[in-house]
Amino acid sequence: MIAPNHNWRQFKNVAMQVVAFVCAVLVVSPLLMIFYHLLKQGLTSINLDFFTQLPKPVGEVGGGMANAIAGTFILLGQAALIGVPVGVLGGVFLSEYGGTRLNWWIRFAADILNGVPSITWGIVVYALLVVPMHGYSALAGGVVLGLMMIPLVMRTTEEVLQLVPAGYREAALALGIAKWKTIVQIVLRTALKGIVTGVLIALARVAGETAPLLFTALGNQYWTHQLTEPIAAMPLQIFAYAISPYDDWHRQAWAGALVLLFLVLFINIVVRFLTRDRFRQKT
């Protein structure tokens, strides 16, 4: 019963498994290396000042990134205000309304937009907002991140709405419930966790964007009092500090990168928690 090339086949089997395993390790190793490096370099610079102080001028030791941390959250807030309603409603249209051909084009366009380099987004918003408003602004920064969120949120919303069984829609419609109420109260409610997950993933994605902010939010060493002023953001501050020649700023950049990574990690853990709950609910 033993095939003539038994040993050779066994060898190939083992060899390919080893190759696949090494590739899998290669996928994980950058994350581990980033983590190790950031913890080693950044942890010593993280203290209360880092979260509460403004950046100090060159030469003065200490200071923090309070304005950049707040700036990132302000930018993400604006981005969510734009990206969530437009993205979710767009996803509703794709899933619940619209003809096959039209939807194919919208999907196609959204997928292309998801692949557009982020710096291109920055240039577009620079031309659309920064130039007419004669200046960099927090608003432009929020808009660019929001625009980037739209196709992401739209596609994930569509996908999770498609997972809602048609039977629920039929049941609601057969009760004489209007279509829009069926969508809002039954379909969206059933898919809520999936939508929240998609929104959080999109937020995590844009939270670390630097290039589009260079053209829009610009960065700021001080607090921003109006959305028409330039605003600091963590990726921008990290970039500015990292390319500076000062050791103290380098340390701050490491610390900022570590905090940003933890923010993204935290969002991902929340996502994991939500999705796990969803599967548990399944009968």
Partner: protein, 269 residues
């Protein structure tokens, strides 16, 4: 709105039918080019159970869905003919499908209670989303509907529990309660027991016999015994056509058509 039936109808209404709840005239339903239901005329008797039988693909589900315009969810669907609900043309230009569906409720093959809602919320969802705000009405209607669906005694102590914590048979009765809560005039059932075990099936059948005191019921079924046990009238569909329609006992014992006899005796289908 009631009782203006057309006496010149060419269809023989079985004896004992009384007033017709639904009068269907020359109904054809198309999906694109394909005719799923062909020129069907039938009177559905009020406060009685009418069973629709026939092999798979014979158009019986499509016919049922045309009775409350659910077939329109398919964008390719198109209909010809006329359906009147107690005299009202349900396909009239001014009539919205939503209004038709409030009067003609539906229970599906696969039980589909809303997973985000409790048992009680599932029962009252049709009322809430149609603008009923009165708490007292809701509470009353919850109990009344669950009692009618023979589910009250099993769930009265846990109305706040998730609907999906119920068993399959209970879930289907919950769906019936949900449909009853909006007080429709007609209840359509699309193979309501085909996914259930024999015990749960017999509960549903008892329930159907109970409900016909107040409701007009149209039930599509693959189960010949079920049609024989639970219905007063039976319509046999084949290839989109209504082959024979009459009192159930007659359809099952001495059908006029050879095809009907072959089907009910299990020779094909």
């Amino acid at each position: 709105m009631a009782a203006n039936q057309n006496p010149t109808s060419t269809i023989t209404v079985p004896k004992g039918a009384g007033e017709a709840a639904l009068t269907v005239r020359n109904l054809s339903v198309f999906f694109g080019e394909r005719a799923a239901v062909k020129n069907v005329s039938i009177d559905i008797a009020r406060c009685a159970v009418t069973a629709i039988i026939g092999p798979s693909g014979c158009g019986k589900s499509t016919f049922l869905r045309a009775l409350n315009r659910m077939h329109e969810l398919n964008p390719d669907a198109r209909m010809q003919g006329e359906i009147r609900l107690f005299g009202d043309d349900i396909y009239s230009r001014q009539v919205e499908p939503v209004v038709v569906r409030r009067r003609v409720g539906m229970v599906f093959q696969k039980s589909n209670p809303f997973p985000t809602m409790s048992i009680a919320e599932n029962v009252t969802v049709g009322l809430r989303l149609n603008g009923v705000r009165d708490k007292k009405v809701m509470v009353e209607r919850t109990e009344q509907s669950l009692r009618m669906a023979a589910l009250w005694d099993e769930v009265k102590d846990r109305l706040g529990a998730p609907a999906i914590s119920l068993s399959g048979g209970q879930q289907q009765r919950l769906c019936i309660a949900r449909a009853l809560a909006v007080q429709p005039e007609v209840l359509l059932m699309d193979e309501p027991a085909s996914a259930l075990d024999p015990l749960a099936t017999s509960k549903i059948e008892d329930l159907i016999l109970d409900l016909k005191k107040d409701y007009t019921i149209v039930i599509v079924t693959h189960n010949m015994q079920q049609a024989a046990r639970a219905s007063d009238f039976t319509a046999f569909f084949y290839l989109g056509e209504l082959v024979e329609f009459g009192v159930t006992s007659k359809i099952f014992t001495s059908p006029a058509q050879k095809r009907t006899e072959d089907y009910v005796t299990g020779r094909f289908g």
